[in-house]
Amino acid sequence: MTLNEKVFKFKVEVILKKGVLDPQGEAIKQSININNLGNILDVKQGKLFELTASSKNREQAIKEVERICADLLTNSVIEEFTYYEVSE
């Protein structure tokens, strides 16, 4: 981190695309229903990432986060992502 850089924090959520089987989500749904915890029609299990970026501005940080999401955090064949900035 250099003097003219600031810290930006993001959360990234990755979830399986529609049509991709999610056996873990299915098992969790069954457990909810078997234990009478609620009336749940569908469960999808995904991943949550926290990224702390050091960038000269917000625009640059967002650009980097988007590239990281597309290049590494998700496989576009099976997954999609959303991200949002969070305060420290």
């Binding site: 695309k17 049509g19 991709v20 089987l21 056996p23 873990q24 098992a27 590494l72 955090l73 496989n75 064949v77 099976i78």
Partner: protein
């Protein structure tokens, strides 16, 4: 053997990406290995028409680098499956399967947790039309779409498969179907 931190390949006839659990399958199986420095050289090798085989985790790495289509996701039963598996040779016009008759049943072991092959609708049709499906499971063990156990690239020079041919090279081990595959490679050079 070429270390993953290398950036160039020596002069080779064939690149083999073996199985294993690179980076502990963190993030997605094969995802982090796909970003290894050597994979840029492997991708270049593919682009100039080089021959490549990816086995198990090697297959997963090839899909993550987009050299092969699709993705490998966890088996539908969420279990690690390790057993001999009957396969059907769906395409015998590749350098790795040319010693087999079309539709022949062969036996090669599988050993994976994330072996379910996935590709969405239009792309799976394209793969079929291009004769990209090389091996199919006789009794689908993991939920793979169209029973797919192995696929090849459009130019037929890159093959990825979840079963382990290197574990079926001796009668004492139960099968020599894997040996036949490596013999196919030799007879094509």
């Amino acid at each position: 053997m070429i270390w993953h931190k290398e950036t160039t390949l020596p002069k080779v006839d064939l690149v083999v990406l073996p199985g294993g659990f690179s980076y502990g399958d963190y993030l997605r199986c094969g995802a982090i290995a796909a970003k290894s420095p050597i994979m840029k050289a492997v991708k270049n090798f593919y682009e100039i028409g080089g021959f490549i085989i990816g086995i198990c985790n090697g297959f997963q790495i090839l899909t993550e680098t987009k050299i092969l289509p699709g993705a490998l996701i966890p088996n539908t039963n969420q279990k690690f499956i390790c057993k001999d598996q009957d396969l059907i040779v769906a395409n015998n016009k590749t350098f790795f399967t040319s010693n087999f008759e079309h539709n022949k049943t062969i036996s090669i072991p599988i050993a994976h947790h994330d072996g379910q092959y996935f590709l969405n609708g239009p792309e799976i049709e394209e793969l079929e039309q291009n004769e990209g499906i090389v091996l199919k499971y006789r009794d689908n063990p993991n939920g793979s779409i169209k029973d797919i156990a192995g696929v090849c690239s459009k130019n037929k020079r890159v093959i990825g498969m979840m079963p382990h041919p290197e574990r079926a090279v001796d009668k004492e081990l139960g099968s020599v179907s894997g040996l036949r595959m490596f013999e196919s490679v030799l007879s094509n050079f």
